[in-house]
Amino acid sequence: MKKNKGMIVGFLAPAVIIFLIVFLYPIVRTVIMSFFNIESVTDAFEYWEFVGIDNYTKLFKTQIFVLAMKNILKIWLIGGIIVMALSLLFGVILTSGIRGKKFFRAVIYLPNIVSAVALATMWRQYVFAPDYGLFAKFFQLIGADKLAEMQWLAPENSFKALLIAYCFGMVGYHMLIWMSGIERISPDFYEAATIDGANKLQQFRYMTLPLLKGVFKTNITMWTVTTSAFFVWSQLFSSVTANKATIVPVQYMYLQIFGAGNAVTDRNAGYAAAIGIILCLCVVLVFTICNAFIKDDDLEF
């Protein structure tokens, strides 16, 4: 077929122009903003004050930002291990031919269709409530008095509480990704392995896991992207002002753009933009490491 260059340009142009306006312009603007002091995020350029890399150097000297980065790293690492392990376990179980697969899949996925605000409120107000909460009642029932008396929302425990609540909501989403990967593996392989004498555990270890390398990469990337934008849960576990135990970079960024709590505090959208750029670089870094260490292009099935 004869290629019509005009036609190609004509069809591509709208998409390319929209991409440039919707994605590239905000990215470039954010990068530029991060080198300026800007009081309001929508201030005209004439009000911007150039500060070079000061926003970045100040950020890494600011204890509360460093703490926020540590918190998000812990959420990514500890939460990631918990969510990946649980979602893979559920994924494997649900694809093993058990009865009621659709029902369990729907139940485990359910938290994803409930608003994060409603979920966080439910955890805070009901599950973690010290007197009549679900945890308090459950631990009383099994005689674990110390755990029953635990104040989940006190500073020393609130990070744990946040992590548990967040992981609960995320397992279903990643389970679906695992399941789609597992279901791509032909049942013939398992049949052959069974005939050769491999038990279920060996099949999982030597067949399922290696064949899921690509899906693992997808899951890690998705998890990193989601956690880097972690905000609503921290905000709801802190009420008006941010809590030291649960503060995350995006929450700190919000405080810098719109002011903190009830007081009228200094605002600097350029400083906030620098936080956004740092988070973006973190996601790119994780993605690059994943690509370097997890090679799945040698697999064909």
Partner: protein, 433 residues
């Protein structure tokens, strides 16, 4: 053939969609057209919003001026108002906290000295107008309404049960009252973590004054004055700071605070401990009775006292955080006269009174000076006796980089998980001392 028809129809739909999207300015929608446009900080389901809607209906009926009211909620207002004003969107009037309106959005405000001169004469509460003028840098740029005061609310029934006859006015008297409550088996003080920087700010303010607190937390807005020597440079190694924190450490050691103090994320303390009568005192703003009106114990009788004075302090019980919402008119508004009329409808007479009934708040209009809700009866003398006006949290929250750590440390101090010295060390570290 069918495919071709479908393609043509889809193309037509797409072009029509684009044409609509690129259409010129309409009369309706966000632009408001001929309507008076009001961006409100309230959410539609709040009692304040209901009263405002009624006032607007009456205003439209009386004057024929239609109002496009948009209830944005606190966050919506904080996030969306300034970009909209910068984009020259048609907004005639808006409202929010007095300091935010005059501080963060000051450059968009109309000077109301002339526009509101008659209003002030007839309806203006002297205290509120003084605060509004101070916030506006000496000029009236906002009209106050729904004032509030921050202090200690208490359960009179529990006070009587413990044999407390007079409300505490000094720290020593509060100590004695709390001891009596403990002896009677009643938890003396509860609260929500959200408000604990305010508690700390108040206590530090008693010893240092507001500027002292701001200097202590390195509030960027006051550091210039500190460097110029106009304001005393207060640091965390100041013995008054340690003394203030030791006061709280002492209260904690005597068991005056609820053991859930550190885990009471708003609104747990007010809803689950104060409202049912499980704790006798709570520090909060005068919006408290409205927020918990549906859940208070049948025998709860409302009492209030201003934050007590401390021995050797700079400020006494006459220094308080009186805040209020304010209305402001966009300096670019073409309908400033109508906007001022609407403000008058909402903040005076019938609807101001209705606001006190529906939202259990303090009246704005001086003509309604006797319309205080029963729940706030004891607040009135505290409010009227205030002569020094503190900002929110007495300025203790003005450094966003410090607030989280200070708040967490302070609630730990209240439950005995941290000492005063440890809190001083933590905060000094963050402030680079």
């Amino acid at each position: 053939m069918k495919k071709k028809i479908v393609s043509v129809l889809l193309c037509a739909a797409m072009v029509a969609g684009l044409a609509v999207g690129c259409g010129g300015k309409g009369e309706g929608g966000d632009k408001g057209g001929d309507k008076l446009v009001y961006w409100s900080m309230w959410s539609e389901e709040e009692p304040q919003a209901k009263v405002i809607k009624e006032a607007i209906e009456k205003y439209t009926k009386d004057t024929g001026v239609e109002v496009d009211v948009q209830f944005k909620g606190r966050n919506g207002q904080r996030e969306g108002l300034e970009p909209a004003l910068q984009a020259k969107q048609n907004i005639d009037l808006f409202d929010e906290d007095v300091n935010r309106v005059n501080g963060s959005w000051g450059k968009y405000l109309m000077d109301l000295e002339d526009v509101a001169a008659d209003y002030e004469k007839e309806h203006g509460n002297e205290t509120l107008f003084k605060i509004a003028r101070t916030a506006g840098g000496g000029t009236l740029k906002s009209i106050p309404y729904q004032p509030s005061i921050f202090g200690f609310f208490y359960n009179k029934t529990l006070f009587k049960e413990a044999g407390i006859e007079a409300v505490p006015t000094t720290w020593a008297e509060l100590d004695a009252a709390c001891q009596k409550l403990v002896d009677a088996g009643i938890t003396p003080i509860t609260g929500d973590t959200t408000y604990q920087t305010s508690t700390l700010g108040y206590h530090l303010g008693r010893y240092l004054g507001q500027d002292g607190v701001k200097a202590l937390v390195n509030d960027p807005a006051i550091m210039e004055k500190v460097e110029a020597g106009d304001v005393e440079d207060v640091n965390w190694d100041d013995e008054r700071v340690l003394k203030a924190l030791k006061d709280y450490e002492d209260f904690a050691s005597k068991g005056y605070f609820s053991d859930k103090m550190a885990s009471n994320v708003y609104p747990d303390g007010q809803n689950k401990e104060f409202a049912p009568g499980d704790a006798a005192i709570i520090i909060c703003g005068s919006w408290l009775p409205n927020e918990i009106k549906g859940m208070v114990a049948d025998d709860l009788e409302w009492g209030y006292f201003n934050y007590p004075a401390v021995e050797g302090g700079v400020d006494g019980a006459e220094a308080n955080n009186i805040a209020n919402q304010v209305f402001a008119i966009n300096k670019d508004s073409k309908k400033s006269k109508e906007a001022m009329e609407l403000i008058t409808y909402i903040t005076t007479g019938e609807f101001d009174k209705k606001m006190t009934e529906e939202a259990l708040c303090i009246p704005t209009d001086k003509a309604n000076a006797d319309a205080w809700p029963t729940e706030l009866t004891e607040v009135k003398p505290g409010f009227d006796s205030t002569t020094t006006y503190y900002d929110w949290a007495v300025g203790a929250e003005n450094n966003a980089d410090l607030t989280s750590a200070m708040q967490e440390g302070f609630v730990k101090l209240m439950v005995g998980d941290m000492t005063a010295e440890e809190l001083v060390k933590d905060c000094a570290g963050i402030c680079g001392e």
